[in-house]
Amino acid sequence: MSESKEWKKIAKSKEKRPKVQEYKNWKELPPIPISLPIEGSMGITGDWRTFQPVILEGCNKCGICWMYCPEGVIKRKEDGSFEIDMVYCKGCGICAKECPTQKIKMIRESESKDE
Amino acid sequence: MANGIIEISFAARGGQTAVTASQLLAQFAFDKGFIDVIAIPIIGAERRGAPIWAFTKISKNKPIKTYDSVVNPDYMLIFDTSLLNIPRIRDSIRESTILLINSDKSIDTTYLPNNIKIYSVDATKICIESNLMLSSGPILNIPMLGAFGKITGFYDLEIMKNIIKEEFGEKRLPKNMKVAEEAFNSVKEVKS
């Protein structure tokens, strides 16, 4: 019965779900093994980064980096250009590797302007 | 007729439609008021023409609780006289077994138990005349069951008509009933 209650929470719309998926006790677990896709379910993965991608001048807005990003942290802005969410970007470098015009560069965190 | 359950065995060759016959017989008997019935085909990797077995058990007053083969048949339907040459089939015939044989000639009773009751019907001829045929030969189940209904009284032509209509459809009814009636009327006891 307690499980049914737990389910009611999970079955709600995306917005009404609990933001943190953290269970302390097996009795709190949902009956079936699922995970709920929510923003940053693994924490602030931006902390993992040692190199950071920078989009250079001359990007042709093809969107390949946006498609390849395994973490979905590249966002398309209204003017069609792209921006990388540095809170969650873990610096894997796949966007730089895939960019057909080499307009994404990986720079050391220590060289980053934000520091 | 052990335990009040009537046990019938079917000996035939693959393609002679004996498995369907065992099932239809169960349906006819149940329709007539037998309270429990079971049709048991012995299924292997069948080949057309190979000797095959099927059994039907019907009970007037108590549930049938067995799935095993019939070893002491009260009745035995033999779809082809050539099957009598097979020792395994001949050996399964008991003194009390009543035989119904599809045959166009006199039956050699040398190797059969003495004083056994035998009925004979030429189901093959009936099928050929009505053109009730499959690629493998005549569809013998309906005429054999027509004759069996006559000699046992377990069911009548009316019941056969209802079930055949239900199972095979209106279209196939006239031809099937024709052969059933012919067999019903032509089955006769053989003096051994």
Partner: protein, 417 residues
């Protein structure tokens, strides 16, 4: 389609094969997705269902033909997650090929019902009654039930949906019956009124899916993801065991409710006793052999022997408590298996479990593990009476029979005398 709407099952008795009874049960349960791949002796289950679907007798039901059993279960899993009542059937080698997906179905906690027309495992090639196939799927988290009669196949499938779809259970279930012995023989089966079946079964999931499991872009959910050893993997496995053990109560309730509505009883759902109360000697037996054993018990009772039997209806969850009670009632208890568990303490799956159930209970009942009917070998009533007489002799002499093979009596073994 208009024809389909007119067609509603009324209560009637039909002389049908066990496989056809299974197909009618799926129809009565209004299953929404059927996935099918043929394998002897199950094939006529899905053939009959394809006739129903094609003839418009199952409006709205999707019938999927796939290229293998692995895909059968994969597609049924997809359909079940999407929120539909699903059904399929398989046998022997087909079930083995399905095995990876069997684990997925239970791990994802999907209420899938699958019938098994059981057959022996190859090689040597064998297509006849032997429960080794469903035994092989024992440790997957599926419930499994054995049927002894044609009517029980129909009834058990309906009861299975009731139990599986219970919000506190959510596990799949096998409904197994002997290949050919039940699948291809014909007996009278009562098909129930559709209204009554609808009343008995839980409502079908609505278009949003089950309340617990769904595919809905507005409420995204990820299935089957990776859990690290430090994560809750172990706990999710423990929950399957916990749920299975608790499902015994649900099975009992579903069986009782079934009896109330349809008037047919199956013991307490887990086991069904027959003349056990005053018996000195008893046997635990399952599947089609159980019905025939009733006849053997009837015959022996007429001869004056105080013998009884217990039909094991559910193998998983194993009815430990009931088995203990059964063992208390008799001095000698045989356990008859039709299926092998190689290398286990007795060689038989159920007899090993019975022995395990009785450990630490202080029960001194003598147990004789037995095997018969492997690979569809015919077992007749006379042989079953002899089996019981072996147990009676064991009680009288206090000694085990001397022809045991590693502690187990393999009955009906061909031997040159």
């Amino acid at each position: 389609m208009s024809k389909a709407k007119e067609f509603v099952q009324k209560k009637e008795t039909k002389i049908i094969k066990g496989n056809v009874a299974a197909a009618y049960a799926a129809k009565s349960a209004r299953v929404q997705v059927i996935s099918a791949y043929p394998i002897t002796p199950q094939t006529t289950v899905v053939e009959k269902l394809s006739e129903f679907v094609d003839g418009g007798l199952m409006p709205g039901t999707q019938y999927i033909r796939v290229e293998s059993e692995h895909s059968v279960m994969a597609s049924v899993i997809g359909a079940s997650i999407a929120g539909t009542r699903t059904f399929t059937a398989t046998s022997g080698q087909g079930l083995f090929y399905m095995n990876e997906m069997i684990h997925w179905a239970a791990g994802t906690r999907l209420p899938i019902v699958t019938t098994i027309a059981s057959r022996g495992a190859a090689p040597p090639w064998n297509i006849w009654a032997d429960f080794s196939d469903v035994i092989n799927a024992r440790d997957t988290g599926w419930m499994s039930a054995f049927c002894a009669t044609h009517q029980e196949i129909y009834d058990e499938i309906l009861m299975s949906y009731k139990v599986c779809e219970d919000h506190d259970v959510l596990l799949p279930k096998f409904v197994a019956y002997g290949g050919f012995i039940l699948s291809h023989t014909s007996k009278p089966v009562i098909l129930e009124d559709q209204d009554l079946v609808d009343q008995y079964l839980p409502p079908l999931p609505d278009e949003k899916g089950w309340p617990q499991i769904f595919i809905d872009p507005d409420r995204p959910m990820m299935h089957g993801n990776l859990i690290m050893p430090s994560g809750f993997y172990s706990e999710f496995r423990m929950k399957i065991q916990d749920t299975l053990m608790k499902s015994k109560e649900k099975i009992k309730v579903a069986t009782k409710e079934f009896e109330k509505i349809f008037g047919r009883s199956y013991g307490n759902g887990l086991v069904e006793e027959y003349h056990m109360d005053d018996a000195d000697v008893g046997i635990i037996i399952y599947g089609d052999l159980a019905l025939q054993m009733e006849q053997a018990i009837d015959d022996l009772r007429e001869e004056g022997y105080k013998v009884g039997m217990t039909k094991l209806r559910h193998y998983r969850p194993f009815p430990t408590e009931d088995i203990i009670e059964v063992a208390k009632k008799v001095e000698v208890l045989g356990v008859m298996d039709r299926g092998t568990a190689f290398g286990s303490p007795t060689g038989g799956p159920v007899s090993s479990d019975v022995l395990a159930s009785l450990y630490n209970t202080g029960i001194t009942t003598k147990i004789l593990p037995m095997m018969a009917g492997i690979g569809g070998r015919e077992v007749n009533v006379e042989q079953q009476k002899e089996e019981i007489k072996t147990l009676i002799k064991m009680k009288e002499t206090g000694e085990l029979p001397d022809n045991l093979i590693h502690g187990t009596l393999w009955d009906g073994i061909l031997e040159v005398k």
